[in-house]
Amino acid sequence: MSKENKLLSIKDLTIHYVTDDGTVRAVNNVSLEVEKGKTLGLVGETGAGKTTIALGIMGMVPDPPGKIISGSIEMDGENLIGKSNRFMRHIRGKKISMIFQDPMTALNPIDTIGEQIVETILLHEKVSKAEAHIKAVEALERVGISRERFNEYPFQFSGGMKQRVVIAIALAANPELIIADEPTTALDVTIQAQVLAMMNKLKNELNTSMIMITHDLGIISEMCDQVAVIYAGEVVESGNLVHIFDEMGHPYTKGLFNSLPGVAIAGHKKRLESIPGLMPDPTDLPSGCKFSPRCLDKSDKCDEEQKLIEVSEGHMVRCWKFDQGKGE
Protein backbone atom coordinates (compact mmCIF):
# COMPACT_ATOMS: atom_id res chain seq x y z
CA MET A 1 0.00 0.00 0.00
CA SER A 2 1.77 3.12 -1.20
CA LYS A 3 1.53 6.39 0.59
CA GLU A 4 -0.42 8.05 -2.20
CA ASN A 5 -3.20 5.54 -1.77
CA LYS A 6 -3.67 6.11 1.93
CA LEU A 7 -6.53 8.39 2.77
CA LEU A 8 -6.67 8.01 6.52
CA SER A 9 -4.01 6.65 8.80
CA ILE A 10 -4.72 5.99 12.48
CA LYS A 11 -1.71 5.15 14.66
CA ASP A 12 -1.81 3.93 18.25
CA LEU A 13 -5.06 5.64 19.06
CA THR A 14 -6.04 5.43 22.71
CA ILE A 15 -9.28 6.91 24.02
CA HIS A 16 -10.44 6.68 27.62
CA TYR A 17 -13.59 7.86 29.37
CA VAL A 18 -12.96 9.07 32.91
CA THR A 19 -16.02 8.40 35.05
CA ASP A 20 -16.78 8.15 38.75
CA ASP A 21 -16.88 4.38 38.50
CA GLY A 22 -13.44 4.07 36.99
CA THR A 23 -11.70 4.78 33.72
CA VAL A 24 -13.35 3.19 30.72
CA ARG A 25 -10.56 2.12 28.41
CA ALA A 26 -12.66 2.25 25.30
CA VAL A 27 -9.95 2.26 22.62
CA ASN A 28 -6.44 0.90 23.25
CA ASN A 29 -3.58 1.49 20.82
CA VAL A 30 -5.59 1.02 17.66
CA SER A 31 -3.86 1.42 14.32
CA LEU A 32 -5.89 1.37 11.12
CA GLU A 33 -5.58 2.54 7.55
CA VAL A 34 -8.16 3.40 4.92
CA GLU A 35 -7.15 3.42 1.28
CA LYS A 36 -8.58 5.84 -1.22
CA GLY A 37 -11.73 4.50 -2.79
CA LYS A 38 -11.77 1.41 -0.61
CA THR A 39 -13.93 0.28 2.29
CA LEU A 40 -12.57 -0.74 5.68
CA GLY A 41 -14.90 -2.82 7.81
CA LEU A 42 -14.76 -2.62 11.60
CA VAL A 43 -16.40 -5.71 12.98
CA GLY A 44 -17.03 -6.40 16.64
CA GLU A 45 -19.74 -6.72 19.23
CA THR A 46 -21.38 -4.16 21.48
CA GLY A 47 -18.90 -2.35 23.65
CA ALA A 48 -15.86 -3.28 21.58
CA GLY A 49 -15.08 0.37 20.94
CA LYS A 50 -15.94 0.68 17.25
CA THR A 51 -18.22 3.70 17.66
CA THR A 52 -15.65 5.42 19.88
CA ILE A 53 -13.06 5.02 17.13
CA ALA A 54 -15.49 6.63 14.71
CA LEU A 55 -16.18 9.49 17.10
CA GLY A 56 -12.45 9.91 17.56
CA ILE A 57 -11.95 10.37 13.83
CA MET A 58 -14.77 12.90 13.68
CA GLY A 59 -13.46 14.77 16.69
CA MET A 60 -16.76 14.10 18.42
CA VAL A 61 -15.64 12.23 21.51
CA PRO A 62 -17.58 13.90 24.34
CA ASP A 63 -15.03 15.73 26.48
CA PRO A 64 -15.63 15.37 29.40
CA PRO A 65 -15.63 12.48 30.13
CA GLY A 66 -13.77 11.28 27.05
CA LYS A 67 -10.09 11.94 26.52
CA ILE A 68 -7.82 11.10 23.64
CA ILE A 69 -4.82 9.85 25.53
CA SER A 70 -2.43 9.26 22.66
CA GLY A 71 -2.11 8.46 19.01
CA SER A 72 -2.56 10.25 15.73
CA ILE A 73 -5.19 10.35 13.01
CA GLU A 74 -3.63 11.54 9.77
CA MET A 75 -5.54 12.72 6.78
CA ASP A 76 -4.05 14.67 3.89
CA GLY A 77 -0.87 15.16 5.88
CA GLU A 78 -2.63 16.68 8.87
CA ASN A 79 -3.07 15.13 12.29
CA LEU A 80 -6.73 15.57 13.17
CA ILE A 81 -6.17 15.08 16.89
CA GLY A 82 -5.77 18.29 18.79
CA LYS A 83 -7.23 20.39 16.03
CA SER A 84 -9.60 23.14 17.03
CA ASN A 85 -13.33 22.76 16.92
CA ARG A 86 -13.42 25.21 14.04
CA PHE A 87 -11.05 23.11 12.00
CA MET A 88 -13.01 19.95 12.69
CA ARG A 89 -16.30 21.62 11.76
CA HIS A 90 -14.77 22.34 8.40
CA ILE A 91 -13.71 18.72 8.04
CA ARG A 92 -17.01 17.21 9.04
CA GLY A 93 -19.36 16.95 6.13
CA LYS A 94 -16.81 18.18 3.65
CA LYS A 95 -14.04 15.66 4.06
CA ILE A 96 -15.50 13.11 6.43
CA SER A 97 -19.19 12.37 6.85
CA MET A 98 -20.85 10.07 9.32
CA ILE A 99 -24.00 7.98 9.01
CA PHE A 100 -25.45 6.84 12.30
CA GLN A 101 -27.45 3.79 13.11
CA ASP A 102 -30.82 5.24 13.89
CA PRO A 103 -32.37 7.10 10.95
CA MET A 104 -35.33 8.05 13.13
CA THR A 105 -33.33 10.48 15.22
CA ALA A 106 -30.70 11.55 12.71
CA LEU A 107 -33.03 13.91 10.86
CA ASN A 108 -34.47 17.16 12.15
CA PRO A 109 -38.21 16.57 12.30
CA ILE A 110 -39.19 20.16 11.69
CA ASP A 111 -37.25 20.79 8.49
CA THR A 112 -38.09 19.30 5.13
CA ILE A 113 -35.56 16.81 3.91
CA GLY A 114 -34.77 19.04 0.98
CA GLU A 115 -33.87 21.89 3.31
CA GLN A 116 -31.60 19.63 5.31
CA ILE A 117 -29.64 18.60 2.26
CA VAL A 118 -29.40 22.19 1.05
CA GLU A 119 -28.15 23.26 4.48
CA THR A 120 -25.33 20.76 4.34
CA ILE A 121 -24.29 21.88 0.89
CA LEU A 122 -24.33 25.56 1.82
CA LEU A 123 -22.22 24.84 4.89
CA HIS A 124 -19.43 23.30 2.91
CA GLU A 125 -19.48 24.68 -0.61
CA LYS A 126 -19.33 28.20 -1.86
CA VAL A 127 -22.42 28.12 -4.00
CA SER A 128 -25.56 30.17 -4.22
CA LYS A 129 -28.79 28.95 -2.71
CA ALA A 130 -30.20 28.20 -6.14
CA GLU A 131 -27.18 26.11 -7.07
CA ALA A 132 -27.35 24.32 -3.74
CA HIS A 133 -30.98 23.49 -4.45
CA ILE A 134 -30.05 21.90 -7.77
CA LYS A 135 -27.27 19.90 -6.17
CA ALA A 136 -29.63 18.81 -3.42
CA VAL A 137 -32.16 17.47 -5.89
CA GLU A 138 -29.36 15.58 -7.62
CA ALA A 139 -28.23 14.13 -4.31
CA LEU A 140 -31.78 13.01 -3.59
CA GLU A 141 -32.23 11.28 -6.92
CA ARG A 142 -28.88 9.62 -6.58
CA VAL A 143 -30.18 7.77 -3.55
CA GLY A 144 -33.33 6.75 -5.38
CA ILE A 145 -35.82 9.27 -4.01
CA SER A 146 -37.89 11.15 -6.56
CA ARG A 147 -37.54 14.93 -6.67
CA GLU A 148 -41.22 15.31 -5.91
CA ARG A 149 -40.50 14.39 -2.34
CA PHE A 150 -38.05 17.26 -1.88
CA ASN A 151 -40.39 19.27 0.28
CA GLU A 152 -41.62 16.45 2.46
CA TYR A 153 -40.87 16.06 6.13
CA PRO A 154 -39.03 13.15 7.75
CA PHE A 155 -42.17 11.76 9.34
CA GLN A 156 -43.56 11.13 5.88
CA PHE A 157 -40.77 8.68 5.13
CA SER A 158 -40.33 5.10 6.19
CA GLY A 159 -37.20 3.90 7.98
CA GLY A 160 -35.44 2.77 4.84
CA MET A 161 -36.22 5.98 2.99
CA LYS A 162 -35.05 8.07 5.94
CA GLN A 163 -31.77 6.24 5.90
CA ARG A 164 -31.44 7.05 2.22
CA VAL A 165 -31.99 10.71 3.03
CA VAL A 166 -29.31 10.47 5.69
CA ILE A 167 -26.97 8.98 3.12
CA ALA A 168 -27.89 11.72 0.65
CA ILE A 169 -26.97 14.34 3.25
CA ALA A 170 -23.74 12.54 4.04
CA LEU A 171 -22.80 12.51 0.37
CA ALA A 172 -24.06 16.00 -0.46
CA ALA A 173 -20.73 17.77 -0.09
CA ASN A 174 -18.81 14.95 -1.76
CA PRO A 175 -16.73 13.87 1.20
CA GLU A 176 -13.62 11.77 0.73
CA LEU A 177 -14.52 9.45 3.57
CA ILE A 178 -17.83 8.19 4.94
CA ILE A 179 -18.07 6.51 8.30
CA ALA A 180 -21.19 4.35 8.45
CA ASP A 181 -22.01 3.14 11.95
CA GLU A 182 -24.36 0.16 11.68
CA PRO A 183 -26.35 1.96 8.98
CA THR A 184 -28.78 -0.85 8.26
CA THR A 185 -29.21 -2.53 11.62
CA ALA A 186 -32.56 -0.90 12.23
CA LEU A 187 -33.92 -1.79 8.80
CA ASP A 188 -35.83 -4.78 7.48
CA VAL A 189 -33.84 -7.34 5.53
CA THR A 190 -35.24 -6.55 2.09
CA ILE A 191 -34.88 -2.82 2.69
CA GLN A 192 -31.36 -3.40 3.97
CA ALA A 193 -30.52 -5.14 0.71
CA GLN A 194 -31.78 -2.13 -1.24
CA VAL A 195 -29.83 0.34 0.87
CA LEU A 196 -26.59 -1.65 0.76
CA ALA A 197 -26.87 -2.05 -3.01
CA MET A 198 -27.37 1.70 -3.32
CA MET A 199 -24.40 2.44 -1.08
CA ASN A 200 -22.19 0.17 -3.16
CA LYS A 201 -23.28 1.82 -6.37
CA LEU A 202 -22.65 5.32 -5.03
CA LYS A 203 -19.32 4.34 -3.58
CA ASN A 204 -18.19 3.16 -6.97
CA GLU A 205 -19.60 6.17 -8.82
CA LEU A 206 -18.06 8.75 -6.52
CA ASN A 207 -14.97 6.78 -5.51
CA THR A 208 -15.67 7.54 -1.86
CA SER A 209 -13.74 5.71 0.82
CA MET A 210 -15.76 4.18 3.61
CA ILE A 211 -15.39 2.83 7.09
CA MET A 212 -18.24 0.39 7.66
CA ILE A 213 -18.93 -0.42 11.30
CA THR A 214 -21.05 -3.49 11.83
CA HIS A 215 -21.43 -6.69 13.79
CA ASP A 216 -22.75 -8.51 10.71
CA LEU A 217 -20.10 -10.58 8.95
CA GLY A 218 -22.41 -10.94 5.96
CA ILE A 219 -22.41 -7.20 5.38
CA ILE A 220 -18.65 -7.17 5.74
CA SER A 221 -18.26 -9.77 3.02
CA GLU A 222 -20.41 -7.72 0.64
CA MET A 223 -19.25 -4.20 1.27
CA CYS A 224 -15.67 -4.24 2.45
CA ASP A 225 -12.21 -4.57 1.01
CA GLN A 226 -10.26 -4.58 4.24
CA VAL A 227 -11.43 -5.76 7.64
CA ALA A 228 -10.39 -5.13 11.22
CA VAL A 229 -11.82 -7.22 14.05
CA ILE A 230 -12.19 -5.19 17.22
CA TYR A 231 -12.33 -6.69 20.71
CA ALA A 232 -12.13 -4.80 24.01
CA GLY A 233 -10.84 -1.68 22.29
CA GLU A 234 -8.09 -3.43 20.35
CA VAL A 235 -7.61 -4.67 16.85
CA VAL A 236 -7.25 -8.43 17.28
CA GLU A 237 -7.09 -9.29 13.61
CA SER A 238 -6.92 -7.36 10.36
CA GLY A 239 -6.48 -8.12 6.70
CA ASN A 240 -8.38 -8.40 3.44
CA LEU A 241 -11.46 -10.50 2.88
CA VAL A 242 -9.58 -13.68 2.08
CA HIS A 243 -7.50 -13.37 5.24
CA ILE A 244 -10.51 -12.90 7.46
CA PHE A 245 -13.01 -15.23 5.86
CA ASP A 246 -10.84 -18.05 4.64
CA GLU A 247 -7.68 -17.82 6.71
CA MET A 248 -9.00 -16.46 9.99
CA GLY A 249 -6.50 -16.82 12.79
CA HIS A 250 -7.53 -15.17 16.02
CA PRO A 251 -9.63 -17.36 18.33
CA TYR A 252 -12.17 -14.56 18.71
CA THR A 253 -12.63 -14.24 14.97
CA LYS A 254 -13.02 -18.00 14.74
CA GLY A 255 -15.50 -17.88 17.60
CA LEU A 256 -17.55 -15.20 15.86
CA PHE A 257 -17.84 -17.26 12.72
CA ASN A 258 -18.71 -20.39 14.67
CA SER A 259 -21.49 -18.57 16.49
CA LEU A 260 -23.34 -17.97 13.26
CA PRO A 261 -26.23 -20.34 12.61
CA GLY A 262 -25.75 -19.99 8.87
CA VAL A 263 -22.19 -21.19 9.13
CA ALA A 264 -23.19 -24.04 11.40
CA ILE A 265 -25.75 -25.26 8.89
CA ALA A 266 -23.26 -25.03 6.06
CA GLY A 267 -20.77 -27.02 8.09
CA HIS A 268 -23.47 -29.51 9.11
CA LYS A 269 -22.77 -28.84 12.76
CA LYS A 270 -25.38 -29.87 15.26
CA ARG A 271 -24.56 -27.22 17.79
CA LEU A 272 -23.55 -23.59 17.68
CA GLU A 273 -20.13 -23.16 19.18
CA SER A 274 -20.74 -20.18 21.36
CA ILE A 275 -17.89 -18.23 22.89
CA PRO A 276 -18.18 -18.75 26.64
CA GLY A 277 -18.35 -15.78 28.97
CA LEU A 278 -18.63 -12.08 28.20
CA MET A 279 -16.55 -9.25 26.86
CA PRO A 280 -14.50 -7.85 29.76
CA ASP A 281 -15.55 -4.75 31.62
CA PRO A 282 -13.68 -1.86 29.98
CA THR A 283 -13.00 -0.31 33.39
CA ASP A 284 -11.18 -3.41 34.49
CA LEU A 285 -9.51 -5.03 31.53
CA PRO A 286 -7.44 -8.13 32.21
CA SER A 287 -3.70 -7.80 31.81
CA GLY A 288 -2.11 -9.73 29.00
CA CYS A 289 -4.33 -10.97 26.20
CA LYS A 290 -7.76 -9.44 26.70
CA PHE A 291 -9.51 -12.38 25.12
CA SER A 292 -7.68 -15.04 27.12
CA PRO A 293 -10.32 -15.48 29.86
CA ARG A 294 -12.70 -16.74 27.17
CA CYS A 295 -10.21 -18.54 24.99
CA LEU A 296 -10.45 -22.30 24.84
CA ASP A 297 -6.79 -22.57 23.96
CA LYS A 298 -5.39 -20.57 26.82
CA SER A 299 -1.85 -21.03 28.09
CA ASP A 300 0.71 -19.20 30.23
CA LYS A 301 2.01 -17.10 27.40
CA CYS A 302 -1.40 -15.43 27.23
CA ASP A 303 -0.64 -13.54 30.43
CA GLU A 304 1.71 -11.29 28.52
CA GLU A 305 0.61 -8.32 26.47
CA GLN A 306 0.04 -9.48 22.92
CA LYS A 307 1.41 -7.76 19.85
CA LEU A 308 0.08 -7.83 16.34
CA ILE A 309 1.93 -10.45 14.33
CA GLU A 310 2.09 -10.46 10.55
CA VAL A 311 0.88 -13.89 9.51
CA SER A 312 1.06 -13.20 5.80
CA GLU A 313 1.33 -10.01 3.78
CA GLY A 314 -1.26 -7.61 5.09
CA HIS A 315 -2.74 -10.16 7.52
CA MET A 316 -2.19 -9.30 11.20
CA VAL A 317 -3.26 -11.38 14.20
CA ARG A 318 -2.87 -10.45 17.84
CA CYS A 319 -1.97 -13.85 19.23
CA TRP A 320 1.43 -15.29 20.16
CA LYS A 321 0.49 -18.61 18.59
CA PHE A 322 1.15 -17.14 15.17
CA ASP A 323 4.62 -16.01 16.07
CA GLN A 324 6.40 -18.76 14.17
CA GLY A 325 10.10 -19.07 13.84
CA LYS A 326 10.91 -16.06 15.95
CA GLY A 327 12.85 -18.31 18.30
CA GLU A 328 11.49 -19.96 21.44
Binding site: G277, P280, T283, P293
Partner: protein, 300 residues
Protein backbone atom coordinates in the same frame (compact mmCIF):
# COMPACT_ATOMS: atom_id res chain seq x y z
CA UNK B 1 -22.01 -27.99 27.48
CA UNK B 2 -20.69 -24.51 27.94
CA UNK B 3 -22.94 -22.05 29.60
CA UNK B 4 -21.66 -18.84 31.06
CA UNK B 5 -22.17 -19.94 34.66
CA UNK B 6 -19.69 -22.74 34.24
CA UNK B 7 -16.85 -20.45 33.32
CA UNK B 8 -14.89 -18.63 36.00
CA UNK B 9 -16.12 -15.12 35.54
CA UNK B 10 -13.23 -12.74 35.73
CA UNK B 11 -13.10 -10.73 38.90
CA UNK B 12 -13.78 -7.70 36.76
CA UNK B 13 -17.38 -8.77 36.41
CA UNK B 14 -17.79 -9.07 40.17
CA UNK B 15 -16.66 -5.52 40.60
CA UNK B 16 -19.08 -4.15 38.05
CA UNK B 17 -21.98 -6.01 39.57
CA UNK B 18 -21.66 -4.19 42.88
CA UNK B 19 -24.66 -5.33 44.82
CA UNK B 20 -25.94 -1.82 45.18
CA UNK B 21 -29.66 -1.96 45.38
CA UNK B 22 -31.39 0.90 43.69
CA UNK B 23 -32.10 2.81 46.92
CA UNK B 24 -28.45 2.77 47.89
CA UNK B 25 -27.56 3.97 44.42
CA UNK B 26 -29.99 6.87 44.78
CA UNK B 27 -28.70 7.75 48.24
CA UNK B 28 -25.15 7.75 46.91
CA UNK B 29 -26.07 10.19 44.15
CA UNK B 30 -28.03 12.34 46.56
CA UNK B 31 -25.09 12.64 48.89
CA UNK B 32 -22.97 14.09 46.13
CA UNK B 33 -25.40 16.95 45.56
CA UNK B 34 -24.23 19.58 48.07
CA UNK B 35 -27.37 21.65 47.91
CA UNK B 36 -29.56 18.65 48.56
CA UNK B 37 -27.43 17.75 51.56
CA UNK B 38 -27.90 21.26 52.96
CA UNK B 39 -31.63 20.84 52.50
CA UNK B 40 -31.62 17.49 54.28
CA UNK B 41 -29.61 18.83 57.20
CA UNK B 42 -31.91 21.81 57.69
CA UNK B 43 -34.95 19.57 57.53
CA UNK B 44 -33.49 17.19 60.05
CA UNK B 45 -32.79 20.07 62.40
CA UNK B 46 -36.34 21.37 61.96
CA UNK B 47 -37.73 17.95 62.67
CA UNK B 48 -35.65 17.63 65.79
CA UNK B 49 -36.84 21.04 66.92
CA UNK B 50 -40.42 20.02 66.32
CA UNK B 51 -40.11 16.69 68.10
CA UNK B 52 -38.22 18.04 71.08
CA UNK B 53 -40.10 21.31 71.30
CA UNK B 54 -41.00 20.64 74.88
CA UNK B 55 -37.35 20.45 75.90
CA UNK B 56 -36.02 23.13 73.62
CA UNK B 57 -38.51 25.91 74.07
CA UNK B 58 -37.65 28.15 77.00
CA UNK B 59 -41.33 28.67 77.72
CA UNK B 60 -44.72 27.31 76.82
CA UNK B 61 -46.38 28.84 73.78
CA UNK B 62 -48.98 30.54 75.85
CA UNK B 63 -46.90 31.98 78.67
CA UNK B 64 -48.09 35.54 78.82
CA UNK B 65 -46.33 38.33 80.66
CA UNK B 66 -47.72 41.73 79.79
CA UNK B 67 -44.92 43.46 81.62
CA UNK B 68 -42.38 42.49 79.00
CA UNK B 69 -44.62 42.85 76.00
CA UNK B 70 -43.22 43.98 72.67
CA UNK B 71 -39.55 43.86 73.53
CA UNK B 72 -37.27 43.67 70.48
CA UNK B 73 -34.97 40.69 69.91
CA UNK B 74 -31.89 40.71 72.04
CA UNK B 75 -33.11 43.43 74.41
CA UNK B 76 -33.97 40.96 77.14
CA UNK B 77 -31.54 38.21 77.95
CA UNK B 78 -34.08 35.42 78.08
CA UNK B 79 -35.91 36.38 74.95
CA UNK B 80 -33.65 35.95 71.94
CA UNK B 81 -36.33 36.69 69.42
CA UNK B 82 -38.16 39.20 71.51
CA UNK B 83 -41.72 39.10 72.81
CA UNK B 84 -45.13 39.69 71.25
CA UNK B 85 -47.99 41.93 72.30
CA UNK B 86 -48.93 39.64 75.15
CA UNK B 87 -45.40 39.23 76.38
CA UNK B 88 -45.04 35.72 75.04
CA UNK B 89 -41.53 34.63 74.08
CA UNK B 90 -41.36 34.62 70.30
CA UNK B 91 -38.61 32.01 70.11
CA UNK B 92 -40.71 29.57 72.11
CA UNK B 93 -43.74 30.33 69.95
CA UNK B 94 -41.73 29.65 66.82
CA UNK B 95 -40.31 26.40 68.21
CA UNK B 96 -43.75 25.16 69.13
CA UNK B 97 -44.90 26.41 65.77
CA UNK B 98 -42.45 24.05 64.10
CA UNK B 99 -44.34 21.17 65.61
CA UNK B 100 -47.65 22.50 64.36
CA UNK B 101 -46.54 23.40 60.86
CA UNK B 102 -44.58 20.25 60.23
CA UNK B 103 -47.45 18.13 61.52
CA UNK B 104 -49.84 19.90 59.19
CA UNK B 105 -47.46 19.50 56.28
CA UNK B 106 -47.01 15.80 56.93
CA UNK B 107 -50.65 14.86 57.42
CA UNK B 108 -52.01 17.05 54.67
CA UNK B 109 -49.42 15.77 52.20
CA UNK B 110 -50.21 12.21 53.19
CA UNK B 111 -53.86 12.76 52.42
CA UNK B 112 -53.04 14.29 49.04
CA UNK B 113 -50.48 11.61 48.22
CA UNK B 114 -52.54 8.59 49.14
CA UNK B 115 -55.84 9.70 47.68
CA UNK B 116 -54.22 11.30 44.63
CA UNK B 117 -51.98 8.32 43.88
CA UNK B 118 -54.81 5.83 44.06
CA UNK B 119 -57.02 7.91 41.81
CA UNK B 120 -54.19 8.60 39.36
CA UNK B 121 -53.10 4.98 39.23
CA UNK B 122 -56.59 3.68 38.63
CA UNK B 123 -57.22 6.28 35.95
CA UNK B 124 -53.91 5.59 34.21
CA UNK B 125 -54.03 1.82 34.39
CA UNK B 126 -57.62 1.16 33.42
CA UNK B 127 -58.05 4.02 31.01
CA UNK B 128 -61.29 4.46 29.13
CA UNK B 129 -64.36 5.83 30.83
CA UNK B 130 -62.95 5.51 34.33
CA UNK B 131 -59.93 7.53 33.33
CA UNK B 132 -62.16 10.16 31.81
CA UNK B 133 -64.41 10.54 34.84
CA UNK B 134 -61.59 10.70 37.34
CA UNK B 135 -59.46 13.08 35.37
CA UNK B 136 -62.27 15.46 34.55
CA UNK B 137 -63.01 15.72 38.27
CA UNK B 138 -59.33 16.40 38.82
CA UNK B 139 -59.43 19.03 36.11
CA UNK B 140 -62.21 20.81 37.96
CA UNK B 141 -60.17 20.79 41.15
CA UNK B 142 -57.08 22.01 39.32
CA UNK B 143 -58.96 24.83 37.68
CA UNK B 144 -59.34 26.49 41.04
CA UNK B 145 -56.14 28.09 42.37
CA UNK B 146 -54.84 25.99 45.21
CA UNK B 147 -55.13 28.55 47.91
CA UNK B 148 -58.63 29.55 46.94
CA UNK B 149 -59.67 25.94 47.00
CA UNK B 150 -58.21 25.49 50.42
CA UNK B 151 -59.96 28.61 51.58
CA UNK B 152 -63.26 27.47 50.19
CA UNK B 153 -63.00 24.08 51.86
CA UNK B 154 -61.82 25.50 55.14
CA UNK B 155 -64.54 28.10 55.11
CA UNK B 156 -67.12 25.37 54.54
CA UNK B 157 -65.77 23.06 57.20
CA UNK B 158 -65.07 25.74 59.71
CA UNK B 159 -61.84 26.94 61.23
CA UNK B 160 -59.38 24.99 63.33
CA UNK B 161 -56.25 22.99 62.60
CA UNK B 162 -58.02 19.74 61.77
CA UNK B 163 -60.15 21.31 59.11
CA UNK B 164 -57.14 23.23 57.87
CA UNK B 165 -55.30 19.97 57.40
CA UNK B 166 -58.23 18.44 55.55
CA UNK B 167 -58.59 21.47 53.31
CA UNK B 168 -54.92 21.58 52.38
CA UNK B 169 -54.92 17.83 51.89
CA UNK B 170 -57.83 17.86 49.51
CA UNK B 171 -56.49 20.73 47.46
CA UNK B 172 -53.34 18.73 46.78
CA UNK B 173 -55.05 15.60 45.48
CA UNK B 174 -55.40 16.66 41.86
CA UNK B 175 -51.70 17.44 41.49
CA UNK B 176 -50.76 13.97 42.66
CA UNK B 177 -53.40 12.32 40.53
CA UNK B 178 -52.04 13.99 37.40
CA UNK B 179 -48.45 13.05 38.08
CA UNK B 180 -49.17 9.49 39.08
CA UNK B 181 -51.44 9.00 36.09
CA UNK B 182 -48.79 10.01 33.60
CA UNK B 183 -46.17 7.92 35.37
CA UNK B 184 -48.49 4.93 35.26
CA UNK B 185 -49.19 5.51 31.58
CA UNK B 186 -45.53 5.32 30.78
CA UNK B 187 -45.05 2.13 32.78
CA UNK B 188 -48.27 0.44 31.74
CA UNK B 189 -47.08 -0.40 28.23
CA UNK B 190 -43.75 -1.82 29.28
CA UNK B 191 -43.20 -5.41 28.36
CA UNK B 192 -42.80 -6.58 31.91
CA UNK B 193 -46.40 -5.65 32.55
CA UNK B 194 -47.41 -7.81 29.62
CA UNK B 195 -45.16 -10.51 31.03
CA UNK B 196 -46.99 -10.28 34.34
CA UNK B 197 -50.28 -10.82 32.56
CA UNK B 198 -48.82 -13.79 30.77
CA UNK B 199 -48.10 -15.44 34.10
CA UNK B 200 -51.65 -14.87 35.27
CA UNK B 201 -51.20 -11.87 37.56
CA UNK B 202 -54.44 -10.12 38.46
CA UNK B 203 -54.83 -6.40 37.86
CA UNK B 204 -54.52 -5.73 41.57
CA UNK B 205 -51.28 -7.62 41.76
CA UNK B 206 -49.93 -5.82 38.73
CA UNK B 207 -50.82 -2.46 40.22
CA UNK B 208 -49.30 -3.17 43.59
CA UNK B 209 -46.26 -5.22 42.72
CA UNK B 210 -45.33 -3.94 39.30
CA UNK B 211 -46.74 -0.51 38.68
CA UNK B 212 -46.43 1.22 42.03
CA UNK B 213 -42.80 0.36 42.77
CA UNK B 214 -41.88 1.75 39.38
CA UNK B 215 -43.73 5.03 39.77
CA UNK B 216 -42.42 5.72 43.26
CA UNK B 217 -39.83 8.16 41.97
CA UNK B 218 -42.21 10.88 40.79
CA UNK B 219 -44.46 10.27 43.81
CA UNK B 220 -41.59 10.76 46.22
CA UNK B 221 -40.49 13.93 44.51
CA UNK B 222 -44.02 15.28 44.53
CA UNK B 223 -44.34 14.43 48.21
CA UNK B 224 -41.37 16.56 49.11
CA UNK B 225 -42.47 19.43 46.97
CA UNK B 226 -46.09 19.07 48.07
CA UNK B 227 -44.92 19.16 51.65
CA UNK B 228 -43.45 22.60 51.15
CA UNK B 229 -46.62 23.75 49.49
CA UNK B 230 -48.75 22.35 52.29
CA UNK B 231 -46.84 24.28 54.92
CA UNK B 232 -47.25 27.44 52.92
CA UNK B 233 -50.95 26.89 52.37
CA UNK B 234 -51.58 26.10 56.02
CA UNK B 235 -49.65 29.22 56.95
CA UNK B 236 -51.77 31.23 54.52
CA UNK B 237 -54.98 29.80 55.89
CA UNK B 238 -53.92 30.52 59.41
CA UNK B 239 -52.87 33.99 58.35
CA UNK B 240 -56.40 34.50 57.10
CA UNK B 241 -57.81 33.21 60.33
CA UNK B 242 -59.17 30.01 58.86
CA UNK B 243 -56.63 27.63 60.26
CA UNK B 244 -54.97 27.76 63.58
CA UNK B 245 -56.98 29.52 66.15
CA UNK B 246 -55.56 31.57 69.01
CA UNK B 247 -53.31 30.68 70.75
CA UNK B 248 -51.95 27.89 68.50
CA UNK B 249 -48.60 29.22 67.21
CA UNK B 250 -48.77 28.03 63.62
CA UNK B 251 -46.20 30.12 61.80
CA UNK B 252 -48.80 31.67 59.54
CA UNK B 253 -50.89 32.59 62.53
CA UNK B 254 -47.85 34.24 64.06
CA UNK B 255 -47.43 36.34 60.95
CA UNK B 256 -51.06 37.26 61.09
CA UNK B 257 -50.93 38.22 64.72
CA UNK B 258 -47.94 40.40 64.07
CA UNK B 259 -49.58 42.17 61.15
CA UNK B 260 -50.85 45.14 63.06
CA UNK B 261 -47.46 45.73 64.63
CA UNK B 262 -45.50 45.43 61.46
CA UNK B 263 -44.31 49.04 61.36
CA UNK B 264 -42.60 49.32 64.70
CA UNK B 265 -42.17 45.71 65.67
CA UNK B 266 -41.53 44.09 62.32
CA UNK B 267 -39.66 41.19 63.92
CA UNK B 268 -43.03 39.78 64.91
CA UNK B 269 -43.66 39.04 61.25
CA UNK B 270 -40.18 38.55 59.86
CA UNK B 271 -39.11 35.89 62.37
CA UNK B 272 -41.93 33.45 61.74
CA UNK B 273 -41.75 34.40 58.05
CA UNK B 274 -38.11 33.40 58.02
CA UNK B 275 -38.99 30.12 59.66
CA UNK B 276 -41.45 29.37 56.88
CA UNK B 277 -39.01 30.45 54.24
CA UNK B 278 -36.12 28.38 55.52
CA UNK B 279 -38.23 25.26 55.88
CA UNK B 280 -39.79 25.55 52.44
CA UNK B 281 -36.40 26.34 50.93
CA UNK B 282 -34.87 23.28 52.55
CA UNK B 283 -37.69 21.04 51.38
CA UNK B 284 -37.31 22.33 47.84
CA UNK B 285 -33.56 21.76 47.81
CA UNK B 286 -34.11 18.24 49.02
CA UNK B 287 -36.90 17.62 46.53
CA UNK B 288 -34.85 18.89 43.59
CA UNK B 289 -31.86 16.83 44.65
CA UNK B 290 -34.05 13.77 45.02
CA UNK B 291 -35.56 14.23 41.59
CA UNK B 292 -32.10 14.45 40.04
CA UNK B 293 -30.85 11.44 41.99
CA UNK B 294 -33.82 9.37 40.88
CA UNK B 295 -33.51 10.28 37.22
CA UNK B 296 -32.30 7.14 35.44
CA UNK B 297 -31.04 9.16 32.53
CA UNK B 298 -28.31 10.59 34.72
CA UNK B 299 -26.89 7.10 35.11
CA UNK B 300 -23.69 7.01 33.13
Amino acid sequence: MNTSSGINNPSSLKKVFKKRSQSKEVWHRLKRNKLAVIGIVILLLMTLVAVFAGWLAPEGYDAQNIKIALKAPGVLKDHLFGTDSLGRDLLSRIIWGAQVSLKVGLIATSISAIAGSILGAVAGYFGGKLDNIIMRCMDVLLAIPGILLAIAIAATLGSGMTNCIIAVGISGIAGFARIVRSAVLSVRDQEYIEAARAINATNTRILIKHIFPNVMAPIIVQVTLGFANAILQAASLSFLGLGAQVPIPDWGALCSAGRSYIRDYSYLVTMPGLAIMITVFAVNLFGDGLRDALDPRLKK
